[in-house]
Symmetry: C2
Subunit: 138 residues, 2 copies
């Protein structure tokens, strides 16, 4: 029963929130914009207002249920948080997204923050490149 997740997160278990959470959990696509979520829900016959999708995703972010990315800079992309932190590597040709974790980089970031007198709160790292598929298609 997913409503537990919402309650735990301090959010009332409303119909729109449950729909959105369920959709994120069941979607095979891991990275989606608010518009993507909205349209996909409409397509499956689920009525939710676009403004609500934006609001709910922002609340989910605050609650730690999803992470907001700025892959391209313009619009936000959301990803369901399932466990451990990871960074992303994206193909600039086809838009493919892969995930990775690198302890060396994680450690260096913390050290750099320290060296500069900062207490680290967060970080964002994206590697852009051309994936193997797109390289061979060249």
């Amino acid at each position: 029963m997913e409503s537990k997740d919402l309650k735990q997160a301090g959010l009332k278990a409303t119909v729109p929130r449950l729909k959105i959470l369920k959709f994120l959990e069941e979607s095979k696509v891991r990275h989606m914009s608010a518009e993507d979520v909205y349209k996909s829900l409409l397509d499956s016959g689920e009525e939710v207002g676009l403004a609500t999708v934006y609001r709910v995703l922002t609340q989910f972010e605050s609650a730690g249920l999803v992470t907001r990315h700025h892959f391209e800079g313009d619009h936000s992309i959301f990803e369901l948080n399932d466990g451990e932190h990871h960074d992303h590597i994206l193909c600039v040709k086809c838009g493919r997204v892969d995930e990775f974790v690198d302890d060396v980089i994680e450690a260096r970031q913390a050290a750099i923050a320290r060296e500069n007198g900062y207490s680290m709160e967060d970080h964002s790292l994206y590697i852009f490149g051309i994936c193997s598929d797109c390289q061979s298609k060249k």
Copy 2:
């Protein structure tokens, strides 16, 4: 004569482009939005259209004269390219921005791209934290 820079970059040396380039070179602030550039120019009595500022900054980016950042995700921030690549560490309280270069991270990124079958084109790394000033002000 700055018009050389523009010619080299394959851009016609027009008045607006020269004004914007000169402004970027002389500004003590290194990171600015298009709006910032526009308003600052207006304040110094230089007439340039906002649309032109956007166009020119985008052209400068393509020409490699400036780098576009997405610090906060919504609007673009531009920085004049003066030589070596560097990454950024930002204070989430006061907006301060510091720069750093870390060879270990650079090397790991290239390795990660390779391990994932990507040819690396670019990367963006931002560390978010609280700077020393803001920590003591707490």
